[in-house]
Subunit: 141 residues, 2 copies
DNA sequence: CTGGGTGCAAAGTATTTGCATGAAC
DNA sequence: GTTCATGCAAATACTTTGCACCCAG
């Protein structure tokens, strides 16, 4: 699914924001657009990219919005080893493959049966899983 | 394996530090002792606990040591959702179960075949895995 | 119109750095 | 004796907050 900077998708993000009790401001739409363009992004890169459209946007606005969207479960923070966190639009169960050479992060679907197994064996009710595999990607090998 | 504050174990940590090109200072031995006592700990708790033995220890010393021991692959940082990172002595493949109610973090061994599968299918050479399952632990249910 | 959002500047937190002294080996 | 570690204070980096103004609904 590719998100484009057009009316159809802007309306989609508008709707999504409203469903999450957030007003659809141009800054928020731009944040969502950029995140969906890259899949996941860190605060600094997001700030740099969004400044091209909103030259006077404040870093505080970025932080406030990332936090409110995260609180409303629209975004999720992915904490990565040896790098800054990235943020992405929430979606279900996938692993992150982080290349230690080029820094690139890919999403991969994952068989979650291991987790339900742990869940059952240890009577631990799993609500959310974070799986990050660090290594060397295909291109860098 | 239980680590105790006795000569045997202190010598062990002394050796481990030297094997990692680090001098075995009392502060470092205390840090390792405390980490092994709890399994994993965040910077603030570590600082508070270590002050009981070294009342004048500096936070900078904690940071420097955690960083050097992490650089030398003696410790590893575990980044957790919605909480500060904890540090633990490096050991192989285990998942972290983090209780969203009481905040406790448990280690569980994990079947890594899923990861080798991803590895093979996507030609990604996995060096390290971080698996964090967030949910509700047995006691808090 | 009303409530929430934005941008700025300032305040907080967290982490790192420089340097003189001191300890490990 | 050398080299590296410690502890302090200062610097830097990162994130949040307060407030006046503004815009989405």
């Amino acid at each position: 699914m590719v998100f484009l900077w057009n009316n159809y998708k802007m309306n989609t993000f508008t709707d999504i924001l409203r469903e999450h009790n957030l007003k659809a401001t141009p800054q928020r739409l731009a944040i969502l657009h950029i995140i969906s363009k890259y899949g996941h992004i860190n605060i600094d890169s997001l700030y740099n990219e969004i400044k091209e459209q909103f030259s006077s946007i404040s870093l505080a606005t970025i932080y406030k919005n990332i936090n409110s969207m995260t609180d409303e479960k629209l975004l999720v923070e992915v904490k990565l080893p040896n790098t800054k966190s990235v943020y992405e639009i929430i979606k279900e169960g996938h692993a992150h493959l982080k290349c230690e050479a080029c820094g690139d992060v890919e999403d991969r679907s994952i068989d979650t049966s291991v987790f339900s197994k742990i869940s059952n064996e240890h009577h631990f009710k799993v609500n959310h899983s974070d799986v990050i595999l660090s290594g060397i990607c295909k291109n860098c090998q």
